[in-house]
């Protein structure tokens, strides 16, 4: 038992941090700098990060959930406006189905964003959401079609418009009535274990993104509290402000500790157990991130409530990462089902 990074993981963490700090947005205005965001997208592609969950031989991914979570955390910390978890989760699902990855594909989610979309007929029947898709242009989104006890991988093509609350990642709304076609080379049906392990990875990546988001927004807030003066002194010298930031820092450490486990477990433990670890992590990280981001807005005062202050970019990112694959309320409901024997949900 040794939960430290291996030397390779430590190196990946520091190189990911360097890259995302250099190319991520430093101001709200930077979000409109297309040249910068294209450079960021190219750098992420060139680093091979989008291929971490491609088939590396024998159906196993090139890299484990731990490496993928290290990248997700770095991107969250820098509020990097580049797709990562979306395409990585799509590639992971395709690999489990035995299909070759489609460049830029993401997974379509049900309206509540908790589960991958399941479509029974040949057309989409409700509005679906492609989360963390590249902006603009034609998009391929995976969906599941029921097949006996399991599911088959299917795909939807759409020109759905960009959107969503997160200013750094896209949520594209897929309208009803679009054709849903089987993925031709998907040679395997997806069973419950496949989906549990896939969801575990999803919960690990969204949790890691939240850990990074907390770290980033906390750094900004501590920096601001040292600089901003009122009554002739830095506001960070006031105990009321110090305690808010100390709590947020502590939540970040707890979140980092709990989020690492499903990232490892997604490949190392039985799928149901890994998914259980993911639920615990996501419940904790979602609550921690909301508190930390709200603290950041508060510490920034009036300026923190203006569009041009970066902290709402973190808060908005946290809202999507929390909701995507299930927020704290949904995780507690699911823990109620699996651990407390509640069959009709917690509500």
């Amino acid at each position: 038992m040794d939960t430290r990074d291996t030397p390779e993981q430590a190196e990946l963490r520091s190189s990911a941090g360097r890259l995302t700090r250099e190319l991520g947005p430093r101001s709200v205005a930077d979000l409109d700098d297309g040249k910068r965001s294209r450079r960021l997208a190219e750098a992420v592609r060139d680093a091979g990060w989008l291929e971490l969950r491609h088939d590396g031989g024998d159906g196993l991914p090139f890299a484990s959930g731990v490496e993928a979570a290290i990248i997700a955390e770095a991107l969250g910390e820098a509020v990097a406006d580049v797709p990562f978890a979306g395409p990585v989760l799509a590639a992971d699902l395709a690999r489990r189905a035995g299909a070759a990855p489609i460049d830029g594909a993401v997974v379509a989610f049900a309206p509540d964003l908790v589960d991958a979309a399941v479509v029974s007929g040949s057309l989409t029947d409700v509005p679906l959401h492609a989360v963390d898709a590249a902006p603009g242009g034609r998009l391929v989104a995976y969906a599941l079609t029921p097949d006996g006890e399991g599911y088959r991988l299917a795909s939807i093509e759409t020109d759905a418009a960009d959107g969503g609350a997160d200013l750094t990642r896209n949520v594209r709304a897929i309208p009803p009535g679009l054709p849903v076609r089987p993925v031709a080379d998907a040679s395997r049906a997806l069973d419950r274990d496949d989906l549990d392990a896939w969801v575990a990875l999803g919960l690990a990546l969204t949790s890691a993104d939240l850990v990074g988001t907390i770290r980033g927004v906390l750094d900004a807030s501590v920096g601001y509290a040292r600089e901003r003066k009122q009554y002739g002194v830095a506001i960070g010298s006031f105990q009321a402000v110090q305690h808010l930031l100390a709590e947020a820092h502590t939540l970040m450490e707890g979140a980092a500790s709990v989020a690492a486990y499903p990232a490892w477990a997604a490949d190392a433990l039985a799928p149901a157990e890994a998914r259980g670890a993911g639920r615990v992590a996501k419940a904790y990280c979602a609550r921690a991130a909301r508190t930390a981001c709200e603290t950041a807005v508060q510490v920034h005062g009036g300026i923190g409530n203006t569009w041009d202050c970066m902290v709402h970019v973190h808060l908005r990112r946290a809202l999507l990462s929390s909701r995507w694959l299930g927020d704290d309320g949904e995780m507690l409901r699911q823990l109620g089902q699996t651990r407390l024997g509640v069959t009709h949900g917690l509500s």
Partner: protein, 377 residues
């Protein structure tokens, strides 16, 4: 990053599990019943005798020099079996090994670790709580001895202790942080009287007050150097704040799992907010378990006596109080119609966690100033 047991760890876990199955004394939770405190010494010596306590400490003092992560396995298995937690005295061991002379270490560590000699910790005073350095207990040199006068409070296990790890003022003229020294004071002597304190949940065996009136201690029992008391105290309290050192994780997980089992027996009898409180208590306890794994893994790089213990203490406090709230929620009206309700006692006991070992407010000051580098006011 690997959460799996190595072959050595797996073998240790299997031996430990078999031993606990046979020797679990089935004590009530420490937070609810005096019987726990009365029989804790027995549990300590049994664990130690079987080779399951003092795992990471030096072999020459009775430890086994195993990596700290073995304590994670101990906590896991104690929790799974519903056995009492390991004795909480790692922080005293850290204080002595970090600061005391070889002679003092050799004299006191074997008895402390094996449980042959029982210890209490004399730091806080009625007028020196959060402001510990304001303590007024004095130790005056008299030949080869020091003479102790003063009043200590919140002294855990003072009624059964053979020794008191005492912090006293040896130099009244020095600035308040510089005039303190630490001693191992024998408790069985005419100059010492101790009185139990009854806590809000009715427990009387955990905390005491100790009055020193001309008590004597040999000068050679000084721990560290004269005037080093504050530094020693800071080493101790930084570890007293670590769940990895005090082993409470197993206690929280056991209570959380007991609450889950109670709900599972008739889920429909509980409202959604009660079930959510239980699920959240489990989330917090799991977080703390994983946090301890991370911290004890980091010790493979060496032990850090820094301010990180304050983060750990806050996480531990939030966990204990989430578990306390869940116990209260699940108990429902029972907790108010039955003054002896166990959940009521668990809940009331949990309120002390944000005070003992340094209040949550003190921890936040330390985190803000020493970790985040915010300016002092």
């Amino acid at each position: 990053m690997d959460f799996r047991d190595s072959p050595e760890e797996a073998a240790f876990r299997a031996r430990l599990r078999a031993w606990i199955a046979e020797h679990n004394p089935g004590l009530p939770a420490s937070s609810t019943d005096d019987e726990y405190w009365a029989r804790q010494a027995e549990w300590h010596t049994a664990l130690y005798g079987a080779g399951f306590f003092g795992l990471s400490w030096p072999r020459r003092f009775g430890g086994q020099e195993l990596p700290s992560v073995f304590d994670v396995i101990l906590d896991d298995e104690l929790a799974a079996a519903g056995a009492p937690p390991r004795p909480s005295l790692g922080y005293l061991v850290q204080g002595i090994t970090t600061h005391a002379s070889d002679a003092v270490q050799e004299r006191f560590l074997p008895g402390l670790i094996s449980g042959r000699e029982r210890w209490c910790q004399g730091f806080s005073e009625p007028d020196a709580g959060s402001d510990l350095a304001a303590l007024r207990t004095t130790a005056r040199r008299d030949g080869d001895e020091y003479v102790i006068d003063g009043h200590k409070i919140w002294t855990s296990y003072s009624d059964v202790a053979d020794w008191c790890f005492l912090l006293a003022r040896t130099d009244p003229d020095a600035p308040k942080h510089k005039g303190l020294s630490a001693f191992a004071v024998p408790m069985d002597q005419p100059g010492i009287e101790q009185y139990p304190l009854r806590m809000i949940n009715g427990i009387t065996k955990e905390f005491g007050q100790v009055v020193f009136d001309g008590a004597r201690v040999a000068a050679e029992n000084m721990i560290g150097k004269p005037g080093e008391g504050w530094r020693i105290a800071m080493t101790i309290v930084s570890h007293e704040r670590e769940p990895g050192e005090v082993g409470y994780v197993s206690r929280y997980l056991k209570t959380a799992k007991d609450l889950e089992a109670k709900v599972r027996r008739s889920p429909d009898a509980f409202r959604s907010d009660q079930r959510e409180a239980v699920a959240w208590a489990f989330v917090e306890a799991e977080m703390l378990r994983l946090h301890v794994r991370r911290r004890l893994s980091e010790r493979l790089d060496g032990v850090d006596h820094g301010p990180g213990g304050s983060v750990d203490k806050l996480l531990m406090t939030w966990t204990e109080q989430a578990v306390g709230h869940a116990a209260l929620a699940v108990s429902g009206s029972q907790a108010v119609v039955d003054g002896d309700d166990v959940a009521l006692k668990i809940y009331l006991y949990s309120r002390a966690q944000s005070v003992m070992g340094g209040t949550s407010q003190i921890q936040k000051n330390i985190i803000a100033q020493r970790i985040l580098g915010l300016p002092t006011g």
